[in-house]
């Protein structure tokens, strides 16, 4: 059995939203509402869901870029949720993040060599300049950038290359876990595959774990060992990638899968859509009971009164639904 690196236990992130009126109490926006899962060493956990489901908040809460309201984040056996800033800083060597917008996440006034070297400079201030430079060049080569570009600025690079720079910066400390927050969503189709392949190659070589956040089901399916489906801050289904793709059991996962277009005219034109109506309800005012019930084709009275718990419905297959398939 491989070791568990990260454990998230009943994590909640609630944002207070001020209401109109002088003495009105702020309402809690439950962005992440009681989420529990583990990430094992060398594994990719895909987190999928629509905009507003809390997937990015979850990623940031793990790194404590956003403070959680309740629950625990346990990193290698140690609860880091309440760790003082100085001690947390030491952990950041092991926990890194890659952002969605590759250009916006790079400082335009720094050369890419300095950007990639910055984590080294801040965690190993005594490292000699030459050694730092050598490490940066080596990492640039690993992510597919020419080392002679080391003195260029971010604006001289295309979106795909900027994402490579972001990956090099995250990888330079050889972290144990990287949160990838929509790393390929802003890239062109032909470039997307390059970056997905790069992340997989790096994982094979360095053995880090990835939490891969995306709304794109086909990309998630391709990179993940296990997939977690989020809806309005709650886990709907959590399973091994193959079994989730082959036989999704939660009505929401089924609807997501059926809505994702497949580049094949024959399949797409004859497809029986399991369409769900309307949009996601406001997270400020989530439905009672099961949060998905307002759009669920199978909803019954029980769904409005009782919150379904995430239960094992098969080997490594967890579903939060009163009436799963």
């Amino acid at each position: 059995m491989t070791t568990t690196l990260l454990k998230v236990e009943d994590l909640k992130v609630h944002f207070p939203i001020p209401q109109a009126g002088l003495f009105a109490k702020p309402l809690p926006l439950k962005a992440v509402d009681g989420v529990t899962f583990e990430v094992k060493q060398g594994e990719t956990l895909g987190v999928v869901g629509e905009s507003g489901c809390g997937k990015s908040t979850l990623g940031r809460a793990i790194l404590r870029l956003i403070e959680s309201t309740e629950g625990k984040v346990v990193w290698m056996g140690e609860d880091i949720t309440k760790l003082p800033a100085a001690k947390m800083r030491a952990k950041r060597k092991e926990l890194q993040i890659i952002f969605q917008d590759p250009l916006a996440s790079l400082n335009p006034r720094m050369t890419i060599g300095d950007i990639i070297a910055e984590p080294l400079a801040s965690f190993y201030p005594r490292m000699s300049k030459a050694e730092r430079r050598a490490k940066v060049s080596a990492m640039m080569q690993k992510v597919g950038l020419l080392p002679q570009m080391i003195n260029r600025y971010p604006h001289e690079f295309s979106g795909g290359q900027c994402q490579r720079i972001g990956i090099a910066r995250a990888m330079i400390l050889q972290p144990k876990l990287i949160i990838c927050d929509e790393p390929v969503s802003s890239l062109d189709v032909s470039i997307r595959a390059q970056i997905v392949n790069l992340l997989k190659d790096l994982q094979r070589e360095f053995g880090m774990s990835l939490v891969f956040i995306s709304h794109d089901l086909s990309v998630i399916r391709h990179v993940s060992h296990r997939i977690l489906v989020l809806y309005l801050g709650k886990i709907m289904e959590l399973a091994e990638g193959q079994s989730l793709a082959r036989a999704p059991r939660h009505p929401y996962t089924q609807a997501l899968w059926s809505a994702a277009p497949i580049p094949d005219p024959e399949i797409e034109k004859n497809k029986q859509h399991k369409l769900i109506r309307d949009d996601m309800p406001s997270p400020l005012n989530p439905p009672s009971g099961c949060v998905f019930r307002t759009r669920c084709p199978k909803a019954q009275d029980k769904c409005a009164s009782e919150v379904p718990v995430l239960e094992a419905k098969g080997p490594e297959h967890f579903v939060a639904c009163h009436f799963p398939d």
Binding site: S51, S190, R192, G241, P263, D264
Partner: protein, 343 residues
Amino acid sequence: MAQSKFRVPTAREGLPVLGIENLNVRFSTPEGEVEAVSNLSFDIHKGECLGIVGESGSGKSQTFMAVMGLLAKNGKASGKANFHDVDLLSMNRDQLNKVRGNRMAMIFQDPMTSLTPHLRISRQLTEVLMIHKGMGEQKARKRALEALDMVRIPDAKSRIDMYPHEFSGGMRQRVMIAMAILCEPELLIADEPTTALDVTVQAQVLEVLADLKTRLGTSIVLITHDLGIVAGLCDRVMVMYAGSFCEQGGVRDIFYDPQHPYTRGLLRSVPRLDQPESERLEAVPGQPPNLQRLPKGCTFQERCTFKFDRCVAERPLLREIAPGRTKSCHLKGFDPSGNAVQG
């Protein structure tokens, strides 16, 4: 630049709804002129859905911005864009305004910025009808309600008097489509209509578009980078790269028998939900070209795995390879096992 000899042929007889001839779009920038679209010719017929596929910078949006007369100030279009028998490119603004929003309409990617935030939806919808059709307010409101029903906005009677911010993203995009179809246009240009939407909402919006095509016989141009939605909705597909067509043909031909290396690369680089997982994706190597420094030969040569001498020396022209199919590539084609055959 050499003129392409072939007009992209069409399957249907009769006068096209829109006929584009040798369209060029140039932008003057501080670094010099950029040719965003070069020498495009194609037709769109009644009731047809045409998919335009390409990556950012391929010219797919600018082609239709030029047709609609919506180019940025530094942009200039030349050639012909015949809407039935009148050339849109030679029209002045007043003449264009009689056609735009009336007989042809456009939907944009971002539904939030395409609606006026401080006007009720009712006002924005009825205005279109009052201007183009000379309707009275009552009649226009009735027609607007019908359009909202058609795009399946629930409870349209009360929703019509709301402001844009009171709608969600998917609803707003449906309001945009309702506005576009108010005057029952013959041609609807949808520029990445679902890119900002979630998959479940995307499926709903695509259903509305499919419905328009079958019920009203509207010709639809779908501009997108997503091959999946093209597969479901379109009859014909054109693949663009660096401002010109690589390949054009029926939707089945393009997906099942792509003949241009770029089309093949695109189709292979997307992971598919319905297929067993593969270890690696077959990515198209390299970066999209800089339009200001296009090579002399084929624009795709730097990323092409089948490049040979002729590709460097000479830019391939669009040529017919089968009835209704054209491509611009020096390769003769691909044999059934996927090997390239040189001409």
